[in-house]
Structure formats: C-alpha cells, structure tokens
Symmetry: C2
Subunit: 302 residues, 2 copies
C-alpha cells in the first residue's frame, strides 16, 4: 500500500458532533472541551456554527464560545457559515477559517438549505469573497458525494460540477462528505480517482460517516490515492440523529488508532485525545459510540 507519511485530522466534534446531539452542552463546558482539544495535538478544530440558532439551538452560543476559547497560534479554528448574516458573527468572533456548505444532490440541497443548487452559489459567493478579504481561509463542504437519502445514487459529475463552481468562487479546500455513510471502498476509489483528475489532493479533505461501518476502509482507499486530510468527530460524537447509539461521523479516536498504528503521523497525543473524549462524554451524559471509547469503558477487553 501507498500511505502518506502524515495526515491532518480535522476535528469537527464541537460543530458537526454537537449539532447532532439533543443535549445542550453548557457554554463553559464547550469552552473547556475545546481547550482540551487544543492541547491534544490537533491542528484544526471546527469550533461552532453560525447557522441561525433557530435551527441549531445546540450551538446558539457560537460567538461566546469563539471569543472565550484559548487560541493556539498553530491551530486553525473554523466555523460553519451558511450566509452573510452568519459570516458577520464569524468575523466578529474572529475565527480563522470559514466553512460554507451545500450538496451534490439537488433534493438534499433543497431539503437541507431550502434552495436549488444553482440558487446556492450566489448566496455563497459574497460569503466566500468577504471572508477572503477579511484574511480568512475558506473551505467548502459538499454533502451526499457518495449517495443521497432522497435520490439514492449521486453521479461523480454532479460532485465535480458543484466542486468546480465552489473553487471558482474562491474556496481553498473541498471537504467531500459521505453524509449518509453508504460509500464502499470500490466506489470511493472510482469517484476519487476521477475527482483527483480535476483537483490536487492537497485541496481535498474526506468527510466519511461510519453509519455502515465502512468509514475506515474508505479512508484507507483515500490514503492510498494520496489524500492527507480527514474530518472526524471525537468519540463518534453526533452519531445518527434518529437512532440512539448508531454511528454517524467517523470517530477521531478510531481514525487515530488506525493511522498511528500504520505509522502515519498525526501529531496527536492519544492520552490527551482520550481524556478530551472522556470529558465530553461525561458532560453529554451518554456513551460515545466509538470503538476506542467502548474499550476505555471495559475492564478486561483488550
């Protein structure tokens, strides 16, 4: 196999994880948790979302969190931003990176953000451009890359079309999401091989979900194709919003296990990572689904 010598794990737990948890984590706990993450070796943390709190009440304290956390110079603190109004909050909070988002599938885009794909770009354009003018980096999330809950199959052409337009608007990095965790390794190889003909690997991050247990196998394929950036959520936080205990986001701790043991450097201190996971699990009041956390809880399981 052909593995990179090092990888950047992008921690999305404080946003993608918490936004899918019913339990509201008190602001001071979010802050303490993110500060722990900042000490674990992670170099990228998506700390919150500036989507209207009407939709994502769990992250209503976005500005306060962003302003109160300790900032390490060599860590990128990012936030999800849906529109210009959200961008104002993100700029006031002085995040380092702004993440915009949309879908490769028309139905999912409509359902998720109430617009057609073609009507989304004019909304994102000023967000991206103003963020860049303000000195921020910008990432673009594309959802349903490997399958859509409404349409089923999603063509690589659809993914390319949305991605190309986002790059044309100025994003610097693309995060390709298996939103419903249906992707299989063969499919990932096929799609990514095509996608990598259009964009260089260093501009691509993979955002796998582990709903069917295929996330690490898919990650292995992506690694072999040269991808060096992977989004994940500590402890598998966020799970599947409709099935208690079901997997959703790929778990940072499980991803880290595989990478570290394959000799792929992440710069992460595993003990501190796990301590951070134990902390948020306690605050959440429910068990985190990652394999790592299951083992942490056991007395004798090896």
């Amino acid at each position: 196999m052909n593995l990179p010598s090092s990888v950047t794990i992008k921690e999305v737990g404080p946003r993608d994880g918490l936004q899918n948890e019913k339990h509201f984590i008190p602001t001071e706990d979010k802050i303490e948790w993110i500060n722990m993450l900042s000490e674990s070796g992670l170099k990228y943390i998506e700390i919150t979302s500036f989507v209207n709190p009407k939709w994502i009440p769990q992250l209503a304290d976005a500005i306060q969190v962003a302003k109160s956390i300790h900032r390490e110079n060599d860590i990128t603190y990012a936030a999800l931003v849906p529109n210009e109004r959200g961008l104002q909050g993100a700029l006031e909070a002085n995040v380092d990176e702004v993440a915009v988002f949309m879908s490769a599938s028309e139905s999912h885009n409509l359902k998720n953000i109430n617009k057609s794909i073609v009507a989304t770009f004019p909304v994102l354009k000023p967000v991206i451009q103003e963020a860049i003018v303000a000195g921020k980096t910008v990432r673009g999330y594309v959802s349903t890359v490997f399958g859509c809950p409404y349409e089923g199959e999603v063509s690589t052409d659809a993914v390319l079309s949305v991605s190309e337009q986002l790059f044309a608007l100025g994003i610097q990095e693309l995060s390709l999401g298996d939103t419903i965790g249906v992707a299989n390794p063969r499919q990932v190889e096929k799609a990514l091989t095509e996608i990598l003909k259009h964009f260089p690997q260093e501009k691509i991050a993979m955002h796998f979900h582990d709903t069917r247990g295929t996330a690490l196998a898919n990650t292995l394929v992506a690694l072999n194709l040269g991808i060096t950036k992977f989004d994940s959520s500590l402890g598998g936080l966020g799970g599947c919003p409709y099935a208690p205990g079901a997997s959703g986001n790929l778990a940072t701790d499980d991803l880290h296990y595989m990478l570290e043991n394959m000799g792929v450097e992440t710069g992460i201190n595993r003990d501190q990572l796990i301590n951070a996971a134990l902390f948020i699990e306690k605050k959440l009041g429910k068990l985190l689904p990652s394999h790592t956390m299951q083992i942490e809880r056991s007395q004798n399981c090896h």
Copy 2:
C-alpha cells in the same frame, strides 16, 4: 483495487458468537436460528462447540443442536473440537467439518487451553486424523495472529510455525484470527504477503475482530491479496465479553454490506440474513452491535 469476484462468508455466530454471550439461548431457539441461517444463502455455518460444557455452558446442548437442525446438502455444518473426547461428540452428531484451535502466542495458548504450543500438536493430531478418516473436513484456527493480550506483538514467524505444523497434521484450511482486534491494514498486508508465500490463498480464511473498528479495512487488504474466505458473526454477536456493547467478532451483516456493494458476490440474501439477525437479537434480549442492526432499529437514519 483487485477484488475477487466472489467470497465465502463463514458464519460463526452460533459458536463464536453464542459462546461469548452470557445469556443461554434455549436449544429450540438455537435450532430455529440455525435453520434460518441455512436459508439465507450462507454456505458455511459453525453450529456449535464440543468443548467441555463445564467451560462453555452456553453450548452444552451441542449434540442436540447438531442432530436437530435441518441440513442443506450444499452447506457445510462445522463444530469446534478441542480434543478426542470432543471429537466423539462431533462424530456422533455427524457434523461435516471439525475445527481445531490453538494460538500463535505461547502465553495465550497456555492461558486458553492450558498447554504449551509444542504440547498441543500431539493432542490435535489424533483429532485431525480421525476426523479425516471419518470423512470430515478439518480447519485449524490460529489465534492472536496480529497481537496477543499478554505478549503484545506476535511475529509472523510464530504464526507460520504453528500454521505449518497444523497443515502437516492434515488440516485443509487455516483460519487466521485477530483475536483481540488490534490489527491495522499495513500490518495485515505485511503479514499476509509473507504468509501467502507459504500457503495458497484458497486454504486461508481470515477471522477479523472489530474491537477497534479496523476489521473491514483489514478485510479490504486481505481481499486485495486474494483471500476469498472470511469468518464473521451475524449482528456482531459475541461482542467483547467484558464490555457490554463493545465490538468483537466482525459482523456478518456489515461485512456483507461492504462486499455486496463492491460487487463481490456472496450468494447471501440480505433480507433473510437480517431477519435471522432480528430473530436472535430478540431471543438474546439485548441489542446486537452491528452497524446494520443499528440502522434496522432506526426510523429515519439512512
């Protein structure tokens, strides 16, 4: 990637799964479950164990189960056999295949079966030879191939040494087990590449555990190296004996999902497989840990 066109999934739930569950499944339920498995497209089912019921009370009804299940002509019904005494039961019960077992690591062998590795072969020899004389096929399980709970690392030489001696005694197939689920894909590639210089792929089955979530990624590597036989346990039955809810055996339903979606044929009917999983989950009175079963339980999770 280089995938085989088809694979044989070897279902070990009724033995490796049930032996690790505290709850005793009534004999008639075991029989009904195995009969459901016989209708799912599976061609190999490990139905029970003839280890002394003193150690494995969950399978004390071994002979009764073996004698009462419906037998399909094109399905191999196998049983775990530790010694000659156990073999008598297996022959009386007319199983098709006998599975002997030992470890690649001395400490684990001692702890598990109370003998040194070198003292194990004379015990297995008559079992293997009498089974063959009786017209049975024989498989040999080797545990701790990728790591030992007591010794840590296990060398590929140790695995080869045990495997060669088992083949010399007459086994026809080797099942290589990641007993504590520590293996990573790079390690699997390295070990298997070496092992395949000594034995042909058709004589090797992989027995991955998903304790750290790496089983499917490891499976992908094995597939690419030409392995076409994989042991798994429906629903992830058996889990980790010491951590409620923790993963152990690779789940048949999750393995099937990945294979089927990659276009690798298994001959399995997914609906019937899942029905069989739902049946045993109900009888068990607790949730099965596989991703597939988590999704089955959800209303809206995709």
